[in-house]
């Protein structure tokens, strides 16, 4: 727990985290205000929460924020050579990695929560209260449950990008290169998906970057949501395994 608080402190004191908070708030305002400029008849505050969370997933903004923060927390240890001191501490590599993961995951949760709260408040001011709407303006039941699933599902799935970026950080040992390579790799993979059938993509995290299609139907598609989260975590665990194996072979000298 001691290391977790150190990591959390490192994140909260960093300029990157402040930029991320600022970016989140500005982005929510921009998304909602630009939406308000269009035809917004019948739009409610709860719709605006789904709109911003959906856009955060669609434009992989949450991924981007987490790539930035993970490169700060992991790759910077190599940039400044502090990983040598970390490896000499009386704590296992597994524990070190888990502490970094948890700290980053908490940060992701805060960012998503901030997004939801700000969009709810801005949405209430601009659109007023109302019901949740799905595709073709159909009214959806259980808005709170749908929000909780969307929020928690997205939060759990950010764990994958943390694990992937950690692995790339350990490989490249430089925060700038980590950001470039991770971001580029995601773009290339996303681009390549147009040549792959949906049945194959169902077994990759790509189809679960946003869980919105499974939540926004008349009935919630539980099986796809649970399967998606599970698949994403399996891929994430694979990258964690690789990270640990690479770290174990790392020379402290």
């Amino acid at each position: 727990m001691k290391y977790l608080s150190v990591e959390l402190l490192k994140i909260s004191k960093s300029i990157e985290s402040k930029i991320s908070y600022l970016f989140t708030i500005v982005m929510v305002f921009i998304i909602i205000i630009s939406f308000k400029m269009g035809d917004t008849s019948g739009v409610s505050n709860i719709d605006s929460v789904f709109l911003t969370l959906g856009n955060f997933n669609r434009y992989i903004m949450i991924y981007f924020v987490m790539i930035l923060m993970t490169s700060l927390v992991v790759a910077n240890e190599f940039n400044y050579g502090t990983y040598r001191y970390l490896m000499m501490r009386p704590v296992s590599l597994k524990q070190l990695l888990i502490n970094k993961y948890i700290a980053l995951w908490i940060f992701a949760g805060i960012i998503l929560l901030l997004t939801s709260i700000v969009s709810f408040l801005v949405g209430t001011t601009l659109f007023g209260t109302g019901v949740l709407h799905g595709e073709n303006q159909i009214e959806l039941s259980q808005p709170l449950l749908r929000f909780i699933i969307f929020y928690i599902g997205t939060w759990i799935n950010t764990f994958f990008i943390i694990q992937l970026t950690t692995y790339i950080s350990i490989l490249l040992k430089n925060n700038i290169n980590t950001i470039v390579v991770t971001f580029s790799a995601i773009f290339v993979v996303l681009f390549l998906t147009r040549f792959v059938s949906d049945s194959i993509l169902d077994f990759t995290p790509i189809n679960y970057i946003t869980l919105k299609p499974y939540i926004f139907n008349a009935s919630i598609d539980w099986s796809h949501i649970i399967f998606g989260i599970l698949i994403t975590q399996i891929y994430g665990a694979f990258f964690s395994f690789l990270s640990l194996a690479k770290l174990k072979r790392e020379d402290v000298g």
């Binding site: 300029i15 930029i19 982005m27 269009g38 434009y59 700038i176 580029s184 681009f191």
Partner: protein, 254 residues
């Protein structure tokens, strides 16, 4: 002894092209552009470079790549060489100007290399036939194809230079390469979303990113191209002046 601008640019260029990050970005962009050979059956060689430029600009990936030109200034921060530069008899406008011009040359090398590799491979594999684009129903003749594609890539260097300018300016202001890169990408994401507000469109940097689309038409829209170039130039000059002011007034600790 006064150091000339050409000498400064040559030094900056030499430094920049040796950077690992620049090479990584170049390899990734090239790999990404070559993906255009996959997918739908092509009937004309000109569709390949156009598909490349479309993929690179419309996915905003090129913004991520180009924003790394911030490293042109970032490398001074990393190596603590700003104090050395300050102690030399070089005017501030030349130091900053050389960095901006180097960014422009790097962008030009970057985009024109993609064009050259794409077009050579494309004409080897596919015939130079008439072609169409999704946003214009008229056929573009094969005899115009080569020139139009070349001009599209050449002019595209200008909005990409704007990306570099934004990135460099933020890096100079924040004294951090990471912040320069990240903020540039954030700005373009925000700008992309704001494009839905019609009144603001023409002022947004992301709106000018697709200048190639105004050229690749049966009848290129030169008025739009000129208007966009003017806006881009104004932005670049403002950003340069802001950076110069910041560089003149900041305290160099390293």
């Amino acid at each position: 002894m006064k150091i000339s601008m050409v000498h400064l640019i040559r030094t900056e260029l030499h430094k920049t092209l040796k950077m690992q990050i620049v090479r990584i970005i170049f390899v990734f962009s090239l790999a990404f552009s070559l993906l255009s050979f996959l997918g739908d059956a092509r009937t004309s060689a000109f569709s390949i470079p156009l598909s490349s430029i479309s993929n690179l600009t419309q996915t905003l990936i090129i913004v991520a790549f180009i924003s790394f030109t911030a490293y042109i200034y970032g490398v001074e921060l990393q190596a603590n060489t700003l104090k050395i530069i300050r102690s030399k008899d070089i005017s501030c406008w030349k130091v900053i100007g050389a960095k901006y011009l180097t960014a422009f040359i790097v962008v030009l090398i970057f985009i024109m290399s993609i064009w050259l590799i794409d077009i050579i491979l494309a004409v080897t594999v596919f015939p130079m036939a008439d072609f169409t684009v999704k946003y214009d129903s008229n056929i573009i003749l094969a005899r115009d194809g080569m020139l139009f594609v070349l001009l599209a890539f050449l002019f595209e260097a200008m909005p990409l230079f704007l990306v570099s300018c934004i990135s460099l300016t933020i890096t100079i202001f924040s004294n951090s390469t990471v912040l320069g890169v990240i903020s540039t990408i954030f700005i373009f994401l925000m700008s992309k979303i704001l494009e839905s507000v019609h009144a603001l469109k023409f002022l947004l940097p992301s709106y000018h990113l697709l200048i190639w689309k105004d050229i690749i038409r049966a009848q290129p829209d030169w008025y739009q191209v000129a208007a966009k170039l003017v806006v881009i130039l104004i932005y670049c000059v403002i950003l340069y002046l802001l950076s110069l002011h910041r560089y003149n007034t900041m305290e160099v600790k390293h």
